[in-house]
Amino acid sequence: MTRAGPAPRGARAGSRSASPAGGRPRGTIAAAGTGGTGGTSSTSAAVPPAAPRMLPFRDVARMLSPIRRQLVGCAALSAAAAAAGVLSYVAIAQIARTALAAPGPAAESRAVWAWAVGGVAGAVLRLVLDGLSAHVGHDADARMLHHLRIRLTRRLGVLPLGWFRAAGSAQVKKAMTDDLEAMHHLFAHTLGSVLGAAGALTVALGYLLVVDWRMALVTVAVPTLSVLGFRRAMRSSSGHIARLIAAQGRISSAAVEYVDGISVVKTFGGSTDRVLDRFDSAQDEHTAAYRAWTAENLATASVNQVLTAETAILGVVAAAGLGFVRAGWLSMSDLLPFLIVGIGLPTSLNPLMRSTQGLRAARMAAGHLDALLSLDPLPEPAEPRVPVGHRVELDRVSFSYDGVTDVLSDISVRCEPGTVTALVGPSGAGKSTLAALLPRFHDVTAGAVRIGGVDIREQSSQTLLASMSLVFQDVILLWDTVTENIRIGRPDATDEQVRAAARAAQLHEVIERLPGGYDTVLDEAGGGLSGGERQRLTIARAILSDAPVVILDEATAALDADSEAAVQDALGELVAGRTVIVIAHRLHTIVDADQVLVLDRGRLVEHGTHRDLLARGGRYARMWWAQDTGAAA
């Protein structure tokens, strides 16, 4: 069938080239150093394509509100764990100070042992609290994923059907998996690492301030500088990141063209140079973008690399401390806490800096989810009206996807119950779009579609959809048993009715031959049913639903001859006595239709029975003769 909306090929290529590619740009290059700054969890965070929007923290908090208590609990536990960890180092510093103060052996040894036990307790406590924090965090993580998936499902259930047709399914998948995965970071790590770092810093800094405030200020200067440098590196990179993402898109599409084109080149000769050139130039551009991106930040990154190293803080503490001792401002034993606890300061900060990248990606994913969750639902009438009869009417209908170009303009037609209306015309004429307006995949831009005398926008969508059967070429199967796949046409149908429908669709024998019979579960691959059989299954579903209106895409040519014949027999059962609207590809199938609508570029150019139109010698007649001579060639 010709598809409504953007051309499938274009859409596919577009979505492929939009996927993040190449060396993913990280939020910052400052984090790309050694010294323990390298991200781990952040590596799985993709930067979304085109115009990524980070969700403001306020909205993130709103989104996370169902797990607020767990998140806070997890963060508090990890702050306590970090504090306990620092305490175990404080204990060592105290052991050293006590041992060196040396007033009397007995008192000294008791105090030293007390601190040693404190150190042990700190280490053990940290382990336990870390475990607990992770446990609570993971629980929150799993709960939030579940909650958001259900929220998404609810929202998707009320969106206009046309949305799913355009690029919807892929977006659903992205939201349900990739985006939620990226957000996992937000649930499980971010708050924990922020509060963890805060806990560690508070305890460490508090202790050092008590020991000697001047030395404490000197010690804290180094990590402060590195945080400032880090922020600078983060800020300046945004423009380059856009260029980098664009360059990655080019690499991606050049790679797609290359592998697709290679079969052409291999079969028709020629050389791969042309395609390879394109790839190389894409890669060169990527390199240049990467270079520009890094060049801007190289100095900051290098300085930061030095500042985040433990060795740098060791140097500063040793130099300043020994100076202080020399000057008589500080005793040697009071310098020791700075060597033990102070040197560890960057280590507690690093996870914090690391998590900012994951956080950005998570917020972008959250932005995407939020956008999905706030899509406008298909407007449902406050007081739905119930149609009387099944006459289908299009009253001066116009439709446009983009609000500029009309895909259908000013079409009026009336389809009486028990008649067949055929839609014919070249591809792109608007046949599929017209058919898609009836189940309200889209709402008309002007005019009205009425079924049973009631505008379809004034009917509840369940009433509307239950009144029609859609038999399209892209077969919709549920990942469920054969029985349930048919029964969904009428959820209260008995097993016997399901079987009767399968028989009418010439499918009963086929199902009986399946390994599990009617209980065989159909997966994405179709569970052993051929294309024609899957199509007949949807016809069985339609027969069961007994809907008075049937909308049909007669594109059975995709099937091999065996299947095609069987599908046609099944269709014959389905359409009998109903209001049938069929998109016809082979004109000979519709010679008995009650009316034929010839569409061209969104306009109704001819309208009548096969015989009338043939006699008129216009557009339809030309199509008919073209097909006829084609078949006779």
Partner: protein, 600 residues
């Protein structure tokens, strides 16, 4: 891991530079920390002896300066390296894939390859830097520190020395668990994704059944199950992570207790005890940090495997003395068997296509038609038997010489995003305008070109999106004409071609077959093509079921005769909402009278 990374790049010198720099920095850091021992020994006397410390302090300052200078190099070297590594690896992958047989290029493999060459390569290049470097630091700093401790007092080094291998063992286990759990989670995630996709696609059906808001029981079940599995997976990963922390914490606790004991029983001087406890903390911190890199390494291992898989695929073996000329266009299969993995596609197939004839392959999907055409073009090599072109086994040809004689018209034709003319001309870049025009006309393409806004100069869009499937196929046929290929293999589009296109493609195929030097093999669907064929070969379950001219086969009660009757049946089918007994009769088994209309 390091070794596997090493093999990926043709010139891994950059890796050496990067890793060596990191290693030197780590050892230097450990040694600088070690300097604390003599410094503290000198200064932790009742009266600090700065004189005794001066030498060490000068040494320390020099070391510090060196450290800062080297450390400033890390960022530039790292960026340059990861960029260069990505470029090199991409070139290597691209170069490699050109050597692979056409049979390799399935849709799945192509999309996986694109992902490999873009995301995976980029990520891998970056991770060699972002993951490996901190891992080196996390390992070498503790090793240097523990060496210093051992030199000063070996007793204190014992718990730390035990902790090193024990911790690494646990990390190994962690990596394994992470890999296992991630694989399981990916399966679970895909299941949910599948459900989600289904939910999106099935909206019309679900809404009609009133199930749109909940997505039905199955979706809910899948989500609940995933939540359970996910949490269980996270918990499983937590165990080795905590075990590693516990190993490190135990070593730390033991060192603290031992140090305190030795300090108090007087076997360790106070200054040494203090210095060693400071060092013990500097052992624990970086080593404990390694735990955070285990999952990163696991992720990296997966990426490396992806790249290796592509590079491991080999081209088909080349003949030692390749034949460079194809004597004639005849095709002969002798007792050919072929399987895709475990799936048997062809069993003992023998057939012959004479030069100048058109052979139509017929059969249900999965009967082996496509495989026959693929083996002619040597997409794959047969398991047994032989495929000969021009009387010579295809394996004995120089592959370029063979493909120069063959044109393949796929069902889904790929066009480059340029003009139609360019797309046809690529089959023979030096062809004259008149030759291109003639090829287009023979392929029934001229009327399409007339209709397009810019005619010959019309851009076809990415992948040829501006043209319909049948039109793209005709462009491909025009290429075959222009190439003047002596063997043309066609997979006639079966999917929803509109009748005009179908007729045009059939006419184009018939014109191809008019050349007495050319052999045409077509996987045929349209009756016109079938009627025009010189020979029909019916395949059934990978075996030749029937073979002969169409008129002859129609007289038998075989598969082809049945298929033809069904074609007729479908052609006589009419849609009508009226219950019409006559129609039902017509739609029943077609009588013998129908056969006559299929005569060639």
């Amino acid at each position: 891991m390091i070794r596997r990374l090493w093999r990926l790049w043709p010139s891994p010198g950059l890796l050496v530079r990067l890793w060596l720099l990191t290693a030197v920095l780590a050892v230097l850091q450990g040694l600088l920390l070690g300097l604390l021992v003599p410094v503290l020994r000198a200064l932790l006397r009742p009266e600090p002896d700065f004189g005794a410390a001066t030498g060490w302090l000068v040494l320390g300052s020099a070391g510090l300066l060196a450290y800062c200078l080297l450390s400033a190099l890390v960022a530039p070297v790292g960026f340059a390296a990861s960029m260069e590594l990505a470029v090199q690896l991409r070139r290597r992958l691209m170069g490699h894939v050109t050597t692979l047989p056409l049979g390799w290029f399935t849709a799945d493999r192509k999309s996986h390859f694109v992902r490999t060459v873009t995301n995976i390569t980029g990520e891998l290049a970056q991770l060699t830097f972002v993951i490996i470097a901190p891992a080196i630091t996390g390992l070498l700093v503790p090793i240097t520190v523990v060496s210093v401790i051992a030199v000063v007092d070996w007793r204190l080094a014992i718990p730390l020395l035990v902790c090193l291998p024990a911790g690494l063992l646990v990390l190994r286990q962690t990596r394994r668990t992470v890999a296992e759990v991630s694989a399981a989670m990916e399966v679970g995630g895909n299941a949910v994704a599948g459900r989600a996709l289904e939910f999106g696609r099935a909206q019309p059906v679900l809404r009609a059944a009133g199930l749109a808001a909940t997505g039905g029981v199955r979706l809910r079940e899948a989500l609940d199950l995933h939540r359970l599995r996910y949490r269980r997976g996270l918990r499983r990963m937590l165990v080795p992570e905590l075990a590693f922390s516990a190993v490190v914490a135990t070593a730390y606790v033991a060192t603290v207790l031992l140090g305190t004991g030795f300090l108090l029983d007087g076997t360790l001087p106070a200054a040494d005890a203090v210095a060693l406890l400071v060092l013990a903390v500097r052992f624990v911190e970086p080593f404990g940090g390694l735990g955070g890199h285990a999952s990163g390494l696991g992720a990296m291992e997966y990426l490396v495997t992806c790249v290796e898989d592509v590079l491991r695929t080999r081209a088909l073996p080349a003949a030692p003395h390749p034949v460079r000329a194809v004597p004639h266009a005849g095709i002969e299969f002798t007792a050919v068997s072929f399987s895709y993995g475990a799936t048997r596609a062809l069993a003992d197939v023998s057939l012959r296509c004479e030069p100048g004839t058109t052979t139509a392959l017929v059969g249900a999907s999965g009967s082996g038609k496509t495989t026959v055409t693929r083996l002619v073009a040597r997409f794959f090599d047969v398991d047994s038997g032989s495929v000969a072109v021009g009387g010579v086994d295809v394996r004995d040809y120089d592959h370029t010489a063979l493909t120069a004689q063959i044109a393949i018209v796929f069902q889904d034709v790929y066009l480059f995003d340029t003009t139609i003319e360019e797309n046809i001309r690529l089959a023979r870049p030096d062809a004259s305008q008149a030759e291109v025009l003639a090829a287009a006309r023979a392929a029934q393409l001229d009327e399409v070109i007339d209709r397009l806004p810019a005619g010959w100069r019309t851009q076809v869009g990415e992948g040829g999106a501006q043209l319909s499937g049948g039109e793209r196929q005709r462009v491909s046929i025009a290429r075959a004409f222009l190439k003047n290929a002596r063997i043309v293999l066609i997979d006639e589009a079966a999917s929803a071609l509109d009748p005009e296109n179908e007729a045009a493609v059939s006419r184009a195929i018939a014109t191809l077959g008019d050349d007495p030097a050319r052999t045409v093999v077509v996987i045929a669907h349209s009756p016109a093509t079938l009627r025009a064929a010189d020979q029909i070969i019916t395949l059934d379950g990978g075996r030749v079921a029937e073979c002969g001219p169409p008129a002859e086969l129609l007289r038998t009660e075989g598969i082809f005769a049945r298929l033809s009757r069904q074609h007729e049946h479908t052609r006589s089918w009419r849609i009508s909402a009226r219950t019409d007994p006559a129609r039902h009769q017509a739609a029943g088994d077609a009588g013998p009278s129908v056969e006559t209309s299929v005569s060639p």
